[in-house]
């Protein structure tokens, strides 16, 4: 079974993340980047499925030159091949354009299953899996906390607040997975060394049959018009218990519609 895993290179969440002052896009220059933590889960899930079926895992990433690091990390974890779509014109793309690039790249690959994370840790929109499925004309099942492949179908469990759903889709399909699905492995030294010899292709927009005006800031349907720092946290409210502490707490909670 061939599994394509879409992964994103994001700024390290442990660093101070900012926006570029020029165009309000995520600042990727001044912060170290890495493979989005939420994308380690689909990589791990793909590796487990591939191990069980003697299959192949291809990681696909779209991003600037340094985004190769995210693909390399996935190769070190055990993925077999990687494709990095890199083109200066892609800068500033919104989710719609990103899904367009991903779909065009996937169309050039052989696949039985497409896995993604539940969202990126920078944009956190979580809409790309659905857009991707729509563009490819494939069924989508999202937010899987468990995934099995049986009889040409993907079967997932999706945990909701009050219920658990079991959903299936015929293959090929797009499946997004949550951070509850597994515990991603970390690269071993053997994995790090093996990754150096694995194929990592770089494709441009032209390779995908796309043109610059279909992607990037100019083609974006959404624009970040302004950004502001989160206001400093204000001092809390201290409730002094003068025999009516309980009542005051209830009053506060009720006032904030928390109870």
């Amino acid at each position: 079974m061939n599994i394509v895993v879409c992964v994103k290179y994001v700024p390290d969440a442990q660093a101070d993340r900012t926006f570029s002052p020029d165009d309000n896009t995520t600042d990727r220059e001044n912060v170290d980047g890495l493979l989005s933590e939420l994308d380690e889960y689909p990589v791990e899930e793909a590796l487990k499925l591939a191990d069980a079926t003697d299959g192949k895992v291809i990681v696909l990433t779209v991003g600037p030159e340094d985004a190769t690091d995210a693909a390399r990390k996935a190769l070190q974890m055990g993925a077999h091949e990687a494709v990095h779509v890199q083109d200066d014109a892609i800068h500033g793309s919104d989710a719609l354009a990103t899904s367009k690039v991903l779909a065009a790249a996937i169309a050039k690959l052989e696949y039985d299953l497409i896995l993604t994370g539940m969202a990126s840790t920078d944009g956190s929109m979580g809409v790309v899996p659905a857009m991707l499925a729509e563009r490819l004309g494939l069924p989508q099942i999202t937010l899987a906390s468990e995934l099995t492949i049986e009889g040409g179908k993907a079967v997932i469990r999706r945990d909701n607040d009050a219920s658990t759903e079991i959903i299936e889709a015929s293959l090929p399909a797009v499946v997004s997975v949550t951070d509850q699905i597994n515990e991603p492995r970390y690269p071993s030294f053997k994995g790090i060394m093996a990754a150096k010899k694995k194929p990592l292709q770089t494709w441009s927009l032209e390779d995908l049959g796309l043109t610059a005006d279909e992607v990037g800031s100019a083609a974006a349907w959404t624009t970040v018009t302004s950004v502001a720092e989160r206001p400093a946290r204000t001092a809390g409210q201290v409730v002094t218990d003068e025999g009516d502490g309980g009542a005051k707490l209830v009053e506060f909670l009720a006032g904030a519609k928390l109870v």
Partner: protein, 391 residues
Amino acid sequence: MDLNDAAVDLAGLDELLNDDERDVQRAVRTMAQSRIAPYVADWFERGTVDDPRGLVRELGELGVLGMHLTGYGCAGLSATEYGLTCLELEAVDSGIRSLVSVQGSLAMYALWRFGSEEVKTQWLPAMAAGDAVGCFGLTEPDHGSDPSGMTTRARRDGSDWVINGGKMWITNGSIADVAVIWAQTDEGIRGFAVPTSTPGFSAVEIRHKLSLRASITSELTMDEVRVPEECVFPEVRGLGGPLTCLAEARFGVVWGAMGAARTCLSTALRYAVERSQFGRPVAGFQLTQQKLADMELEYVKGMLLAMHLARRKDAGTLRSAQVSLGKLNNVREALEICRTARTILGANGISLEYPVIRHMNNLESVLTYEGTVEMHTLVIGKALTGIDAFR
């Protein structure tokens, strides 16, 4: 996060590494921070390691056990990468780095360098994978810095060897599957790969330590322990054998100590910025800044020395007196950094809620093992003057 926490890498040490080295360091850091760091203070407090065999297996899966050796399932990485691994492991706890040093640089290295082919194929792949644990028996209750007077003896009996004696302060002793034992024989000091399941071999864990509490330390007793000929190391005679192994492990200590120092320095730095007294951060007082600046200086110098020695080791030009320079300087300065960090944290410095006193107490052991301060001082003195002051 690379060679250093960015906050303490004022000198830009990270530039000294290539991509492969960064990848190895990152892999070890990820594993150590997620699988060991959350539990190690609790192990230290209770004086134990939960599931040490499981921990060894995880380290084996990562590839750190015997990582600088080649063949027999070992990763075959560079001395620099091994140093970075020790740095990251000891940034979590000296006891964990000790476990890895003893497994890889003492036990595995001795078997790899000196053992018969039978011994190598029997033990090395399993030890690299973390399925088997090794220990290294040189020190005895009455013979520490001067091992030449050891009383453990091995005698030939037909085609077998029979070993009698005792070894002390043996890391991993009680959980080991194989013990490298150095013993007097009629042909001088020789080394043996002794399966710990051999009748007459026993290991008792040493209690009441106030240092390296997240590390298993044991006393070994051998009473008529009989092993076949293939267990003896065929070529090596005399103290040169064990001392070669110690120089290997010592190199890891040069790096590891800086890991403990880094953790204490970055903890103290964070604490000093967050903690307020007299209406301003503790970090805003000149006395504190003096401490932090001195800690940073010694940290950077120790790292540069470690890096230099690693490059020499990779080039095959490292001499043992140079390792003594590194071991003496880096452990001594790391201990001083940890003690100073302890003062910056005030009363919190003595609590296991913070890593500082744990690292400080651990380094008291590291200061002594793998050659005491006194021995390394005399080795350096001898290298400088040509005069041997201790033999």
